[in-house]
Every structure is written in structure tokens, then in C-alpha cells.
């Protein structure tokens, strides 16, 4: 490359730089609007910003206040409950459905379409549908009672101890079909000859799945975990539509906390601190994943 620099005309220079010129607007946008903004918010988390950004540094004060606020504690507890149930149920259900669907089922494509369509919906739509379906006054409880079971009670959505589980229900409904598709793709990637060999070795269907198939789905489990964990941490729309964070603050999640503290309670410094915590937790999951993906692909 050094040898050739001498006889370059301007035209040649443009020709050689063209790919980078084409890429540069996107790179600039991302550097400013992703990384620049991340730094800005990170900086704000150390300032005394209230309703507007302000640049007086207050050290770790926002973080210590954040972790002393009750609503943030609730949000973190809720995230742990919601996140772990969401991930576990989606994986179990997704894997079970994928295995069932992998048995040369007639109309497989049709069934797959039904299982997956919720993924195409907005969480606001999902939230609206489930909000009224779970509403004791008109939804499931009222319907079962109208069928004659007068004492039937299902009021989770109004119960501050149980409301978080309604979010799990709706979120699982929306995403489990997608997890099913991921596992199904994994199952279809397994070499049939290995299964034949195991069958010849006398393995039953049960041990075939337990010993041969499911262990080979490790990458699918990894991907499912990363996707679900990342969606759980970012969950916002569904909570807003389904419970609005309530009753009270019973279904507060970090994302709703950040929004209300920043934009309605005018505690921008604390909001920025909570956003930073969210970013850190997502980065802890995504960075190793992206890193390994990029390395493999090289």
C-alpha cells in the first residue's frame, strides 16, 4: 500500500475512499446518538439535574439516593421476579412446543403461524387485550362467574402482590412462540444420522431427547437467554399498557421507574443513574454475546 501512494491522483483517492465515505454517515450517527448520548446520560447521572440537565457534579449521590428509593427497590425486585419467570417459562414452553411440533405434525406451518403471531403485535396491543381479559369486572373472573361458578376469583391484576405475575402471563404469551421458533430451528439443525445411530443403539425417544438432542440445543438456549434477558430489562410498553406500573407501584420496572423519575418527577439525575444501571446490566449480557458472535464470524 505504501508503494502505491505516490502516483495517486485525486480521482483515485476518491475511488479508494468511497466505501468509507459511504459508511461514515452511519458511523457518525451511531457515535453521536448512541455512544455520545450514553456518555452524556452517564455524565448526567453524576449531576444535580432535576427538570432540565444541569452540570453541577454531585459525585455518587444520585446512585446512593437511587438505591435508597423504595420504588427502585420494588423495580429491581420486580425485574428479578419477572425476568426469571419470563425467561424460564418461555424457554420451557418454547422447548416443549418445539419438540411437539418437530414430530412430523400435519399443518405444522399453520400451527407455527398461530404460535408466532403475537410477536408481530405491539406490546400496547397485547397489554390492552390482556388488561381487559384479566380485569375482574368484565374479564375472565366475570365470565367464569357468569357460567355459574359464582365464587371464582381471579384478581391478580388488582392485587399488588400478584400484579407482577400478570405481566409475566402477557409477556410469555407474546414471546414464547418466538422462543419456540428458535428451538425448532435448533432441532432442525441436528444431524439426523446421529439420531439414527442413537436409535440403533437402542435409545428410547425420551433418552434420545434428554441425552442427545437437548444438549445439542445449547446455542439455542444461549440465544434465547440473551434475547429474553435483554427484552426483560427493556420491558416498558407492556407494563404501561397492562397495569400502568400499578396498582400503586406494584409493577414498577426499571424502565418505567426511569421514565417517571426523569420526566414526571423531575429527578433527571436519578433517572440518568437508573438508565445507567440498565445499560450496565444489558451490556453485561450483550457484550460477551456480540463479542463471541463477531469472533466466530471472522
Amino acid at each position: 500500500m505504501s508503494m502505491t501512494a505516490t502516483r495517486r491522483s485525486g480521482n483515485d483517492w476518491l475511488r479508494d475512499a468511497l466505501p468509507k465515505i459511504v459508511l461514515s454517515p452511519s458511523l457518525a450517527i451511531v457515535l453521536v446518538f448512541v455512544y455520545g448520548f450514553i456518555l452524556f446520560t452517564f455524565y448526567l447521572s453524576f449531576t444535580d439535574s432535576r427538570i432540565l440537565p444541569s452540570y453541577g457534579l454531585v459525585g455518587w449521590q444520585n446512585y446512593s439516593r437511587l438505591f435508597s428509593v423504595r420504588a427502585w427497590g420494588i423495580a429491581i425486585d420486580n425485574l428479578l421476579i419477572f425476568g426469571s419467570l419470563y425467561i424460564v417459562i418461555c424457554c420451557v414452553l418454547g422447548l416443549a412446543l418445539a419438540i411437539l411440533l418437530d414430530q412430523k405434525i400435519r399443518a405444522e406451518g399453520f400451527i407455527r403461524t398461530i404460535y408466532l403471531y403475537p410477536m408481530a403485535l405491539s406490546f400496547i396491543v397485547t397489554g390492552t387485550a390482556w388488561k381487559w381479559f384479566l380485569d375482574p369486572g368484565i374479564g375472565l373472573q366475570a365470565v367464569v362467574r357468569s357460567w355459574g361458578w359464582e365464587s371464582f376469583t381471579f384478581e391478580w391484576i388488582k392485587d399488588s402482590h400478584m400484579a407482577i405475575y400478570t405481566i409475566v402471563i402477557a409477556a410469555v404469551w407474546q414471546t414464547s412462540g418466538f422462543v419456540m421458533a428458535m428451538f425448532l430451528a435448533g432441532l432442525r439443525g441436528i444431524d439426523n444420522e446421529v439420531l439414527k445411530a442413537a436409535q440403533i443403539d437402542g435409545a428410547s425417544n425420551w433418552s434420545l431427547y434428554r441425552r442427545i438432542v437437548i444438549p445439542q440445543l445449547r446455542p439455542a438456549f444461549m440465544s434465547a437467554f440473551v434475547v429474553l434477558a435483554h427484552m426483560a430489562i427493556k420491558s416498558y410498553d407492556l407494563v404501561i399498557a397492562l397495569t400502568g406500573g400499578g396498582p400503586g407501584t406494584a409493577t414498577e420496572l426499571p424502565a418505567t421507574f426511569m421514565y417517571s423519575y426523569t420526566f414526571t418527577r423531575n429527578q433527571m439525575g436519578i433517572g440518568a443513574a437508573s438508565a445507567t444501571i440498565m445499560l450496565m446490566s444489558i451490556a453485561a449480557i450483550m457484550v460477551p454475546y456480540i463479542w463471541s458472535e463477531l469472533r466466530e464470524k471472522k
Partner: protein
């Protein structure tokens, strides 16, 4: 997509198959139930829902809830129905999808066929941008939009979606073009084609499938977005999801569940139609966004 490959060699007996089909059917009901609830209740008078008839078919069929949701329902301060917000969403989605797809295609082309030192780093930066919690950018973006004079406008939303859509569209095209034989590009270089000619004459004609995947993904994501819509729009520039939420959450007057359901279906319809028409591509996009498919 891998799920189209032939099924496995595992055999199951007759009894087991009956159980399997029963389970699969039950789950079909589970997934379809909310859709059923939305549809039937959007077609019945409010009184039937209030009387505990949510699960039954309408006794009296009516399109009134649909009409109300579309053109007369109270959204926020005005009784405009969802119509103007539906239009806002269309106005927002089309340019944002178009521009981010074009940029993604060019980026993917550069990152795979005109590789340079550090290209993987650039791609990693773009990719990580897809996954950040957007709470992290809300505050500065609100200020930036203000500075650009785009606060509370549809162009402002277009810009935001464009910015945060580039990562995914680049991801799709990069992964697709990576499979595209580099020898074709080299052959075209020897034939004398330049950067844009190769893109237009060699790459683009083969990019149909991934363009569909990318467009569907961006369309679904941007249409379904709530956070940016809620953060950066005014009453007259709200997208459909925000308006729907306002409709459902409004605390004034009687809760018109049937209208809410009709509105929810309206908000869901564009993405549902896309899913039904091009589900294969939708799934491919989902998978490519998470695994190596």
C-alpha cells in the same frame, strides 16, 4: 429458514400422537384467545361486555365500536378517533423504513465487500447500538430534537427511528452479503465496474429476500414502538400506539371496552397483515436478529 428443513427421524406411536395433537391444539387456543376476545368484543355493544359476556359471540353484531375508534373516540384532549394517529404512524414509518434500509444495505455492502482494518469494530459498535436500553438516550435526544427544531414532530420521530434502526438493517445486510460470493464482486471489479455500479448491478438484484426481511422488521419495530412515540411526540404527532394507550387509559367517562378492542385491532392490523402475508420473512428477521439462524 431452518424450520423448513425436513423433520427428524424420531417416530412416535399412535397414542402419543393423539396426546401431541391435543396439546398442540390447546396451545393454539391459548395463543388465539386474546385475538378472539379482541375481535368478538369489538363487534358487540358495550352492555354485552359489561354483563359478563366477554367470551361469547355478539348477540347483536355492530360496527359502531369500530366507527367510534376510528373517527370519534376521545383521544387525549380531542375527540378525533384514531384516524389522524394512524396517519401519523404511516407518515413516520414509511420514510424511516426506507432510509434505514437503504443505509443498512450500503453499510452491509461496505462491511463485507470493501473490508478495511477496523471494520469489525465499526460493525460491533453499530450492533451494540441495537441493544442498548433506549432510556439511556431519552434525555439527550429530547434536547437534541429541540435544538434541531424537530421536537414533537413526525420528522423528529422519523429521525429517531432512523438513527436507532440503522444497526439492525446493517446487521441484516451484512450477514446476508457475507454469504454473497465475493468472487462476483471481484469479477465485476476486473470487468471494470466501480463501487456503486457493483452495488446496483450485482448486489441489489440479488438482495430481494433480505430487503424484504429488513423492511418487515423495521416496519414492525417502528410501527409498534411506544417509548419514542411517548417521549418525543406532541398531541398532533403521536403515533398509533401512543394514541391507543391514551384511548385505553383515559379515565374520563365510561370505559368503552368494545371501542378499545376495536382500536387495538386497528393498531395491530398493519403488522398482522404483514405477518400473515410474509410470515416467512418476518421469522427470518426475528431469527437473524437473535441467532445465526
Amino acid at each position: 429458514m431452518a424450520t423448513n428443513a425436513s423433520a427428524n427421524v424420531i417416530r412416535t406411536g399412535g397414542g402419543a400422537r393423539f396426546v401431541i395433537y391435543t396439546l398442540l391444539a390447546l396451545f393454539c387456543i391459548y395463543y388465539l384467545l386474546p385475538l378472539y376476545v379482541m375481535v368478538v368484543n369489538s363487534l358487540k355493544p358495550l352492555s354485552e361486555i359489561q354483563a359478563g359476556g366477554m367470551m361469547s359471540l355478539p348477540h347483536e353484531w355492530t360496527l359502531a365500536p369500530w366507527r367510534s375508534a376510528w373517527s370519534t373516540a376521545q383521544i387525549g384532549v380531542a375527540a378525533t378517533g384514531l384516524k389522524p394517529y394512524f396517519l401519523n404512524s404511516i407518515l413516520m414509518v414509511v420514510p424511516a423504513v426506507a432510509i434505514s434500509t437503504v443505509l443498512g444495505a450500503l453499510n452491509g455492502y461496505v462491511l463485507t465487500k470493501w473490508r478495511f482494518t477496523g471494520d469489525t469494530v465499526v460493525f460491533g459498535l453499530l450492533l451494540f447500538g441495537c441493544f442498548i436500553p433506549f432510556q439511556m438516550v431519552l434525555i439527550p435526544m429530547a434536547r437534541m430534537l429541540g435544538l434541531m427544531g424537530l421536537a414533537g414532530t413526525v420528522p423528529g420521530l422519523i429521525f429517531v427511528h432512523l438513527v436507532y434502526g440503522i444497526g439492525f438493517s446493517t446487521l441484516y445486510f451484512r450477514n446476508y452479503y457475507q454469504q454473497f460470493p465475493t468472487e462476483l464482486v471481484r469479477a465485476a471489479m476486473i470487468d471494470g465496474a466501480g463501487f456503486f455500479t457493483i452495488f446496483r448491478r450485482i448486489m441489489l438484484p440479488s438482495s430481494g429476500p433480505i430487503a424484504v426481511v429488513c423492511i418487515i422488521w423495521q416496519f414492525t419495530n417502528i410501527w409498534n414502538d411506544f417509548l419514542f412515540g411517548a417521549s418525543f411526540s406532541d398531541y398532533d404527532s403521536q403515533p398509533m400506539t401512543v394514541a391507543l394507550n391514551n384511548l385505553v387509559q383515559s379515565s374520563t367517562g365510561v370505559k368503552e371496552y368494545n371501542v378499545h378492542f376495536a382500536g387495538a385491532i386497528m393498531a395491530a392490523l398493519p403488522t398482522l397483515i404483514v405477518y400473515i402475508v410474509a410470515g416467512r420473512y418476518f421469522v427470518r428477521g426475528l431469527m437473524a436478529g437473535s441467532v445465526k439462524g
